[in-house]
């Protein structure tokens, strides 16, 4: 019954489709390599338990689950950060210097039927685990920008936030935990009307109310927006967040990367293991987030004392879907030969392949001798 169909949200890729995707992956991996990140591969299957902890942000219904022979619940990995953290706690346990890892892995999530979302997609990403934190943040951002540039796109924005800004603004309010969560959610989703209504139901200072109402609409490119945040800040932690971003932004400006930057401090990420800066990439033509990452010191600190970590991943399938045909026309050879010229044809093939050409050998009864035909194909 299911003979000819594939599950929802999955795809078969063939020929040119594979090449296009590989080309994107290779460009990104090359950038990661050039910055000294070493590849790791982890199993697609993990224990479901690993992804179930407080603040994981992963919804139970979005994970593919099944059982092993002992009845334990397994999961197809719904993200790569957790497997990397596990790896750090085992294989890199005794490493005292910085650990730079890269991966390219298929990620699985169950999305609603017919939503047009992919249940299996490829993420290419890096994780930078080190004791030093400031420079690592800068490095991760530069690599994020470089990897998007490497694919040949220019109209993109890396939006940076710092979760301690909003967190510390909410932290000290005299409202219930539940109200705090609601407040953060409304701000992040920019539900202005509901936010307005909600703010009128809780007992907080008028000036702070005004701050929360303005926050969702205060964002944007240019360093000017950071000065606005500075003016809005009403405690030191918030000021520190802004100052830190200003420092980062200034460094990025000096190397000419400010045109790719945008800021939004109203972000409270879904994956709430983040502890510092968070960022995501938007590209014109895609309504989705193509790159996302951030700092997650607690998660890594639990398994490796004094270490922090920052990482990001790029959704290759989302990227690939909006790129123009990135393949080039190339020349290949077809050698059509008669049975009696077999050896000569094979030798000729070796010769041409040596020069880097694609050569196909085609035996034919209609061909009396040997015939070499040029042909164009799409490749990279």
């Amino acid at each position: 019954m299911y003979k000819n169909i594939i599950p929802d949200g999955t795809r078969d890729l063939t020929n040119e489709e594979c090449m296009r995707k590989s080309k994107v992956i290779n460009s990104i991996n090359k950038v990661f390599d050039l910055w000294g990140y070493k590849e790791v591969m982890t199993p697609s299957i993990e224990f479901y338990e690993s992804f179930r902890y407080e603040h994981s942000g992963i919804k139970e219904e979005n994970v593919y689950k099944f059982f092993d022979s002992k009845g334990r619940i397994l999961a197809l990995r719904p993200d790569m950060t957790i497997p990397i953290v596990r790896l750090v706690s085992t294989r890199f346990k005794n490493m005292s210097s910085a650990i730079k890892l890269r991966y390219c892995a298929n990620i699985y999530k169950v999305f609603e039927e017919f939503s047009g979302k992919r249940n299996e997609y490829t993420d290419c990403g890096i994780e930078f685990i080190s004791k030093e934190k400031e420079f690592s943040d800068l490095e991760a951002l530069i690599i994020a920008i470089d990897s998007l540039k490497s694919i040949g796109i220019s109209n993109f924005k890396i939006e940076i936030g710092e979760i301690n800004f909003l967190k510390s603004a909410i932290e000290d309010l005299c409202i219930s935990e539940e109200e705090k969560t609601t407040l953060a959610r409304l701000i992040e989703k920019k539900e202005i009307e509901s936010l307005n209504k909600f703010l009128n139901t809780i007992n907080i200072d008028e000036s702070i109310k005004k701050f929360f109402l303005n926050l969702p609409l205060t964002f944007g490119s240019g360093l000017g927006v950071l000065s606005k945040y500075k003016e809005m800040s009403f405690n030191c932690k918030m000021l520190n967040s802004v100052r830190y971003l200003q420092k980062l932004a200034e460094d990025l400006r000096v190397i000419g990367y400010d045109k790719y930057l945008s800021f939004d401090l109203g972000l409270t990420p879904r994956l709430s293991f983040y502890t510092g800066i968070i960022f995501r990439g938007f590209i014109e033509g895609s309504g989705n987030i193509v790159l996302s990452g951030g700092r997650y010191d607690n998660l890594i600190g639990n398994v490796k004392k004094d270490f922090g970590a920052i990482g990001f991943s790029i959704n290759v399938d989302e990227l690939e879907s909006i790129l123009d045909n990135n393949l080039e026309k190339k020349l290949k050879y077809n050698i059509i030969f008669n049975e009696s010229n077999k050896i000569e044809a094979i030798k000729k093939g070796f010769e041409l392949r040596e020069k880097g050409f694609v050569v196909e050998l085609i035996p034919s009864k209609d061909e009396e001798n040997i015939n070499i035909i040029e042909e164009e194909y799409y490749g990279y």
């Binding site: 609603e112 989703k189 920019k190 202005i192 009307e193 964002f219 590209i283 014109e284 309504g287 987030i289």
Partner: protein, 210 residues
């Protein structure tokens, strides 16, 4: 950079075009639409298209449309990732729970069946009230279902209440107020901030002067 707006056709269409006109957009094509599906603004680099409410969310979520106009009823029913930026104050109605006069759902014992076009809203509401219900999805004329005995009560939107009254149903609870919202795709808002803010400002001016 051009902006595209997905408008909900039907109930909200007329009021939305009115707001756009007042805001100074060139919506001549929208008023005289014939069989066309896509309309160009005559003054600005904006294009409009008319779609069903839940499709409007889909178009905006995928970034095919930058902005959408859609009722809160549909937004509450459908998972989406777009920003909900403005209450347009049009298409006002309410989510309500209604039943036949002899059925008080909230003190009833035993299994409760609710007929609705909005399964998620219905489930969420009763769950928040600690009541376990079975939802039966109905596509239209929901009032009919409890009369015929398909379900014990309904969750639906109510504008004036006339239909309910005429069919002998009584409103048991009001769940929440509904009106049309303006939604914006996440990526678009970031990449076309200036253009989208321009549109938002113009519309906001009209709404706040109402």
């Amino acid at each position: 950079m051009g902006i595209s707006i997905a408008l909900t056709k039907g109930r909200l269409e007329k009021d939305t075009t009115k707001i756009l006109q007042k805001a100074g957009f060139g919506i001549d094509e929208l008023k005289d639409k014939g069989r066309k599906l896509i309309f160009k603004d005559t003054k600005y680099d904006v294009s409009y298209f008319l779609v069903k409410a839940s499709d409007s969310i889909t178009y905006v979520d995928h970034g095919v449309a930058d902005i959408g106009v859609v009722g809160l009823d549909t937004l509450n029913e459908k998972e989406h990732s777009s920003y909900e930026l403005m209450d347009l104050g049009i298409g006002k109605c309410k989510f309500i729970v209604a039943a036949m006069p002899d059925k008080d759902l909230f003190s009833m014992k035993g299994h409760i069946k609710i007929g609705t076009k909005y399964p998620k809203v219905a489930k969420d509401y009763f769950k928040a009230n600690n009541i376990d219900i079975e939802v039966i999805k109905i596509e239209g004329s929901v009032e009919l279902a409890p009369i015929l005995g398909l379900c014990d009560g309904i969750v639906d939107i109510m504008e004036t209440g006339t239909t309910l009254k005429e069919n002998g149903l009584v409103v048991l609870r009001e769940i929440k107020d509904i009106s049309a919202r303006l939604i914006v795709n996440k990526a678009s808002f970031k990449l076309k901030q200036e253009e989208i803010s321009f549109v938002l400002e113009k519309i906001r001016d009209v709404i706040s002067n109402k």
